[in-house]
Structure formats: C-alpha cells, structure tokens
Symmetry: C3
C-alpha cells in the first residue's frame, strides 16, 4: 500500500496497519539475524529542533539495522536563532537534498505538515509540539497490544495519567477507536481528565468509553493498562494525591493474569521498579517494538520510491 509521509496516526487505515504489523514481524526476524544491507545506499536525516535522544536513537538504530546511513542534529533550533525570520520551509528544502528521508522533531504543532508540503523526500513526524502528533509512538503502542494480546478487537483498555496533556494516550485512543468493540477507560484526576475533542471523536465513531478518577472496579477488568507520567510541576499547591494512580505490587494482584502494563517511558514513580519482573510488565518490550515498527515504516517508504 502507498506510504510516503508519516504525519499523524489517523492517516493509517486498518488494512495499512495490518500491512505495517506484518512487516514489523519480519523486521523482528531480520534484527535477530543481524540486520540487512538492503538499504545501504539510503541516507536518513534526524532533524530535531529539540533533543529527544531516545526517539532519535530508535529511528537511527532502525536505519542502521536496514544497512542505511544517518545524518543527525538535535540542534536544528540553531537554524531559527541564526537568522531572523528563517523559515522551516527553507531548511527542509535544503536538507531534503542531502538525504532520502527526513525524521523531524519540531516544537510547533503542524511543523511536520508544513515540512511535508515542501520536502522533496518523505517526512516522518517524530513529535511536533505539545498539542501535536507523534504517530510512530502510537503505532508502536498499537503493535505492542496486538503482539501481546494477539488481537485488536474487543479489547478493554485503561489509560491512566495526565490525560489532558498526554499526547501518547490521546493518539492511542484514536487508533484503538478504529477497531470493533473497543472499550476505553480514561482514569485521571478530574482536573487532568482527557479533553472534549477526543471524546467527541470517539462518540462519532461509536467507541464506548468511561471517565473515572480512580482505578477501582476498572483495573481488574481490563486487558491493557496504559500508564503515563504526570509532570510533578503541575502539582504545586495542589491537593491531588497521585499515589493512588501508581502501579505497584498491590495493583499487580488486582490485574488479570493475561493483562499487560504499558508505558511510553521514561517513567518516574508511577510504576514501581519491583513491577518490572512481572511477565505482564510489557513496557520494555514496547520500546523494543519501536525499533521494529520504525524499520517497517522505513522499508514501506523506501520500496515505494
């Protein structure tokens, strides 16, 4: 299927997701046998306007396992500071001549779309602003659920954390809404509950959801717990007690035996480290899946050229 720019998770139809996940499984095998040299003449640029070393390294590792080469900067912000009125568009036009694909991390929502409009090569959005998208994270999250639960229909998923700001949880909710009989639980302190726009979207697509301020009577019934981090800076002067949202050994005992715990990482205190050894703790498998999903996306784009 056709794939060029990767700008937002909504652009992925269910058939395209299934093709991506089939390829992702192949990539897992390719990495296990030491990678390939098939794409050794390809050059990928990681053009980051702010550092995000984990994301950058995941993309770069994906490119290396495919045999390719990497141009990198985490200081692209320098471009803007250097010249008053410097346009992202000019930078993209120039950088596109140096490579076969641009992975862009920009600080403004819509940055990836503006880049794609002028780029001579495919653009992958690796995060564009707090209100923006980070589609490859959502794709690796969905792949992880698929790989762990062996299905994407009929799943109950609890999303926990500062859901008003959580880009990853929002994007995942959009993607899960594409599948049949999904049930979503948004669990957050009331002042950090998920925003109206996403609820409207879910209603339009007949996705069943529930809002809650506690994990009680929910967490024991879900297939997936998607935990996220709450920025402590938001709690200053607040009465909110976050410890009830943490996942620890006590919560583990309430979880189904075949449920999984996910987290986009990095984590702070919201998942206790003694949870790591439990087989249901899927968050390190999840980050590893990021490598395979990104490899799969890269091959889909390179093959179409």
């Amino acid at each position: 299927m056709k794939l060029h720019h990767v700008l937002e998770s909504q652009q992925f139809t269910v058939p395209l997701l299934m093709e991506l996940f089939d390829r992702t499984r192949v990539m897992e095998k390719i990495v296990a046998r030491g990678g390939t040299r098939d794409w050794e003449n390809k050059v990928m640029t990681t053009l980051f306007y702010k550092p995000s070393t984990r994301t950058r390294m995941s993309f770069e590792s994906a490119m290396y396992r495919l045999g390719g080469k990497v141009l990198a900067t985490e200081q692209a912000q320098e471009f803007s500071s250097e010249v008053e009125g410097e346009q992202l568009e000019d930078t993209i036009r120039i950088v596109a001549d140096y490579c076969d694909l641009i992975v862009l991390r920009h600080h403004e929502a819509g940055g990836a779309r503006r880049a794609a409009a002028v780029s001579g090569v495919p653009v992958f959005n690796a995060g564009d602003g707090a209100g923006g998208q980070h589609p490859t994270q959502a794709l690796l999250d969905l792949y992880t659920i698929y790989n762990e639960c062996k299905k994407l229909d009929g799943l109950s998923v609890a999303l926990i954390g500062a859901l008003d700001q959580g880009r990853t949880a929002r994007s995942l909710a959009y993607l899960l809404g594409k599948f049949d009989r999904t049930k979503l639980y948004f669990i957050a302190p009331p002042e950090m509950q998920v925003k109206q726009d996403i609820l409207e979207h879910l209603e339009q697509h007949n996705v069943v959801y529930e809002l809650a301020s506690s994990t009680d009577k929910i967490i024991e019934n879900v297939d997936v717990v998607y935990q996220t981090r709450i920025d402590r800076a938001r709690l200053h002067g607040s009465e909110i007690d976050l410890t009830s949202y943490n996942i620890d050994k006590t919560v583990l005992r309430r979880l189904r035996s075949n449920a999984i715990i996910m987290h986009p990482l990095p984590r702070s205190v919201e998942i206790a480290s003694d949870v790591d050894g439990d087989p249901r703790a899927a968050y390190f498998r999840q980050t590893r899946n990021g490598l395979f999903v990104r490899m799969a996306l890269l091959t889909m784009v390179f093959e179409k050229e």
Copy 2:
C-alpha cells in the same frame, strides 16, 4: 591534478577548477543512481568549533553518498575550554589519527592553515572566522554559475549586501577574477561597501568592477545577481533603508530572462518567498550543488593518497 588540503579558494587554478567541475558533473550522476560504495573504508571527521549544521550536513551527506563514514562534533570548542592553553595543533594531531580527512570549522582566521601544518591527513577549511575563508562555498557558487550560465568568461555579476563582512561574496569575487572579461558590481549601502583589499586585488588582476549604492541601471544588465543577507543587528540607530536592496517580484521584472539569482542561504527578508517559483531563482539548486562539489573534492583527495 594534485589536491591535498583545501584551505582557501585562491589555491584553485583555472585548470584545477575545470577538473573539479568535470568531476562534479560525474557526482551528480552518481547521486542520481543512489551513490557509490567506492570509499566505504574512508572515515571523515567534521571537527566544528562552532555549529554550522547546514555546512556540516552537506559534507557528511557527500561522504555518505561516496560510501564513507563520519566522525562528528559541533562542540570542539569544548577542547579549548577544558584545558587552559590547549592547542588546536594537539587536537588536530590526535584527531588525524582517527580518520582519513578532517573538515574543520574554526573560529579564528588562519585556523585551517595552522591545522594543515601539523595534520597527518588532508584538512578541508569549512570556514575559519569572520575574516577567514570558506572555500567550498566559493567553489559551489562558481560551479552554480558555470552550470547555469554555461560559461565563466565574460559574465556580469552583481554582488549585493553587507559586502564589508560578506565572506562568501568576497571569495566569489576572487574566483570570478580568474576568468576573462568578468565585470563585477558591488552594490551595498556606502557604510557596508566591499573593502579596499579586494578592490586592490581585482585591479592587480585587471578585473573591471564598479561600486554602487543602488541596483538601478545595474540589475537589468547582469547575468548573475548574488544576493546576501544583512545582519539586522547592524542597523540599530542607523538611517539605512535596506528594503531597496531586497529582491521581489518587482525586481524580477527588471531582470534579464536568462539571468540567475543566487544566495548562500539562509535568507531572511532579502529575497521574497514568491520569487522562489521563478526559474531564475537558482539558490536551492546552488545549495544542492554544494553536495556534488564536496563529493568531487573528496574523491580528488582520496584518489591522490
């Protein structure tokens, strides 16, 4: 022809320039078919004492398209801050052992020459200080003129901007002076006009030039308009109106149909974005040529070893 260090544009004789440009054309074809692996055992270091991400990426992309590998730092300044009295010479001696070629960006004029004096491998000057040289920029500028105008003799070229500080415009003037019947127009506010040293050089080489403070009666008669940026910080408290130096649709109408507009980029307001679509706007082709020229230089050096 022999090529080892690339330190300043003046070192290039006309025959060497012609060899370089012949090779540059070959590189264009090599990139079009996906690059080569001929130089896969070569390692190039980009040793930058201050960030210049576009220049760095252009060199690194050139090396990748040749199949080679890249060691990179934009924080070489750290070397100097780490140790009182740390010598550039010691750093070069060490780094030369790690690679086959050093691309150096230094903050002091003469830095590249000092490096070349002790380096065990070829040194390419990627800019050394405000008063220094940036020869590969001048070479790609000249190649662009050659490629667009199909000749280098008998050309009329208008250089516009803060010419007292503009390293690129100065270097290009030197190179153009090597060709027959060149006519140069230096167009700048009087307080930013080109300095005496370059005018003396041109007189010694019998190059015809003219100084002007306006594009009137000039811009309609030239083959090449070389626009550069004027740092707004220089205008504080000044009466200078720079808008008359800008290139926009109005100026386009005055230009010859076969003239070209160049700019070393990045630009600010001095070329309006609605000029970009005009076929005479050559500045994005110009940056792309940087890739091919740098590839050609690298092969010339690697082949001689």
Copy 3:
C-alpha cells in the same frame, strides 16, 4: 578468553592483557590496509552523560575501522533532567535494545557497574566519575609501554602530577603492579600526593614504590615518565611552584636515551611543545594506540557473542 563487560582495569589478568595486546598488533595492520568490513552488522552506542569528544571519537573510529555503525549522544544527561527520578537502569535497558554494545561515560563512580547489571549487551566503561575508572585509557597506556619498551617486567616508572586526583595515573599503577619487579615513583607536590588506598594495594601485591616531591635523582633512572596535568584552579592562593614538574628540553637532557615520555592528553604547559620532536616523546603514539586497543577490545567482545 572470555570478555563481556569492560568495567575496570583490575578485571584484566596478565594472560588476558597479553591476548589483548596480540590482537592490538593485528588491529594496527588492519588499519594500515584500510580497515575491515567484518563487523558491518554491529551497532555500538556511545552514551555519554558528559562530553568527552576525544574518547568518544576514539571509540567511534575504532568501530568504523571494524566496519560497524555508531549511535551517539553526548547529551545523555538530558535523560536525567527530563524526568525526576529517572533511572540510569531504565535508560540502559532501552538503549541496549538499539545496539550490540554500549560505551558509557557517566558522571558517578559506579555508573558503569550499575549499567552492566541490567544491560542486555556488553557495557564498556569510558569513565565514570572523578573517583571512578577509565579502563581503556589504562589499557592503552600499558600497551604503549609494552610496545615502546618491548617488555612489562622490571620497569621503573615515574608518575608525575596531581596524583591524588589523577584517575589515569592511579589505574596505570594498578596495572603495572601485576608485573614482576615494577618500581613506581610517585612525584607530586605533597598536598597532591597519591592516596593511601593505592599504596596499600601496592604493598599487598609487593610492588616497590617511592614517594617524592621532586624529579631530582629519579627522572634520570626511569624507563617511563608518565606526566599528567595539574588543574590550575587548584593553585589559587597556594605557594606551590609547579614549573619544577614540567618537562622541557632541560629535562630531556637528563632522561635516558631509551626512556619514553607519556601523557594522557590534553596537555597544558606541563610538557613544552619543543619536546614533541624528540623520539622519546611517545604521547601522540600513545593516543593512536587507543584506537588499536579499542578495536581489539571490540573484536574480543563481538567474537564471544
């Protein structure tokens, strides 16, 4: 012999050192003929919590000469600042999935050991804190002595500088103590003399040593002078005159004709630049050996996998 993590110089037995040095010699030949592609499917990460560009580049060059690929960051500190309570352990678990080996520079003593405890891939310690270890530096120092003096038994070695803080001198002393009839001279201002722990270690292993505050009657009798840098900031308000510890032409005249002068570099004023041309000045050969020793370590680890 078995090699997985490289955490501290003490882990190297004499037979392991000898295997390493045999391989190092082979690497020298491999580099002379342009490197190898044997390890082109391997990815090494340089995960640096603080910049150390020379060390990083030495490792990366070693990897490139073996044909491999490199993921790099000198801004890993960002990981810790991003999330309150972020654990080195989590970062290592994630990064280990992206690569085949992690070269870690951490700011806390013991960081490399903590990383190794959770890493899915080998960890090389490239320096962990002021009181920590930097084993590859100690190994390249020892290899240099072996290569220059053609033996490791019965050597007299003078270590000069701020020995209380000098990690490199301390580590080298440990390694030299493994060989027969080593005689060590610790030459430093009394307030900067080597610490008790290392002297106790040497006594336990029956290594003969002597403390001195001057090079008099010592420097003319040693095989190796290991000079180190004294941080000038430590001298504020102090009466210490360091010039007597410097090595210059006068000192050269007192040295044995077959002695060698070493320095971990970078240097400040403690070795005069007119010493560089003397054949006994081994410090640039020493840094070059770092490349070969690191290549040898990498192959030892990759072959065991």
